[in-house]
Symmetry: C2
Subunit: 273 residues, 2 copies
């Protein structure tokens, strides 16, 4: 059954950085990506609402016979992961927070980790908790970098404005001695700004891209399911099926920036959840 697709959902287009990393790690797998664009953003909504929306997204993907569910959204990972696992006990369900936190703890030489994310994710404290669960004596510095989201959506990924904004958010964290040695990009939008972020933090700082770490966690989960070799026999085709709940044109246009390849507007199916 190696040809069943991997389902990925997010509130919008940010999760396409996760899909991009998944495609790089698993080039022959089929994917279904669902962006709940009609109800974005999730970050400002209550945990109960985000859980309800996430269960609806998951149900739409499970109907399409997925073999694994990836929550490519920090807010949904923080709020809905337990409910999603309970509702789909036979399906591997992977969120973005746990792999990022785990990678940060593994990579940090001194245990001082900075997390940057949206206001909602930082206020919710999910990364901070996940890091401390893995390393109770870690020191965590957290900062909301709200403008990064708008910049990534606008495609202003590098250049003087992106760097000035990165300086304004990150200098207060990294300018002093005893600064963090590791930085977690705790929002799916932020890997798009990697160049600007990388140019303003000290070169010794390890940057954890939660998109890449999530992809690695998915590879591991699939290996556990089907031992190496069995999947290759069924020759997956490496296709992506595009679903959104509103605005195909914007989804394709802005999504292309995050995905790094063209999201063809004609291929985007609008579904009702």
């Amino acid at each position: 059954m190696g040809t069943r697709p991997i389902g990925v959902f997010d509130s919008g287009v940010g999760g396409l950085t996760v899909l991009r990393a998944l495609r790089a790690a698993l080039p022959n797998e089929d994917f279904i990506y669902l962006g709940d664009t009609a109800r974005l953003p999730y970050g400002t909504k209550s945990a109960a609402t985000v859980t309800r929306y996430s269960l609806q997204c998951a149900a739409a993907l499970v109907l399409r016979d997925i073999r694994c569910l990836v929550i490519a959204c920090n807010t949904a990972s923080a709020s809905a992961l337990p409910a999603l696992r309970l509702s789909h006990p036979s399906l591997p369900v992977i969120g973005v927070i746990e792999p990022g936190a785990q990678a940060a703890v593994a990579m940090s030489p001194g245990g001082h980790i900075a997390v940057i994310a949206t206001e909602g994710t930082i206020a919710g404290g999910a990364y901070q908790e996940a890091i401390l669960r893995h390393k109770p004596d870690a020191r965590v510095t957290a900062r909301a970098c709200s403008l990064f989201v708008a910049m990534a959506e606008e495609g202003w990924n590098d250049g003087p404005i992106a760097e000035a904004v990165a300086h304004r958010y990150l200098d207060p964290i990294f300018a002093e001695s005893g600064a963090p040695d590791t930085l977690v990009l705790g929002c799916t939008h932020f890997p798009a700004l990697m160049a600007a972020i990388g140019s303003v933090v000290p070169s010794a700082v390890r940057i954890v891209d939660s998109a890449a770490t999530t992809a690695a966690a998915v590879v591991q989960a699939l290996r556990k399911e089907a031992p190496a070799g069995t999947a290759a026999a069924s020759a997956p085709s490496g296709r992506v099926t595009w679903l959104a709940t509103d605005g195909a044109a914007r989804f394709a246009r802005v999504g292309t920036r995050f995905f790094g390849e063209t999201v063809p507007v004609d291929a985007v199916q609008i579904i009702d959840l």
Copy 2:
């Protein structure tokens, strides 16, 4: 009945620039402000959904016995104004788009008007249509300035980053000869950035702040209702009642920046629509 309050609603805190202008114009009136923070932003939602939400906001305010309804939200003004007027035929209902468009036409010496707003407002074309309705031979240049919203919410209202962003959005509009002579701030967030915007457009350009023009339209509507003198006799107290549908702390904190006075967090009532 001059003591009945004026009801103002918006999807969030941006409409507080309109409330600020209303308070400046009508310092003795009572206001009820409702921010539908649980369901923001309206800008990415369909017209049918925005109309439904707007009718719910209006109903909550009408229950509180308002004497006038102000739609302090561009998206809701564009989509829901006719439905709101139909549902509340005896109530003066004033949106933000019509007064801004009218003021721009009146102020523009050459009839070349630039409109900046959110992506949704620009794509919907409501300002463009309203301007052309008042002056069919006007030339309208429209541009979405999405980052301005995030900057205003973050409180980055002036300084080098705000000016660099304003240059990037506005220079392409104003750098050439035959540029617009008038600029409409078609988003309730944008008046917060007036200093940065004003510093990058040529000094001859007239800037239309739709918050101020909406306040002027409300003053006019109230005068039509109650001739001058009758309202003063009932000695309104100039109070603001604060309602929001989610997140009192964020509403108060970010709202304070737009309102220009403290929005006391303890005074914010969370209501369910």
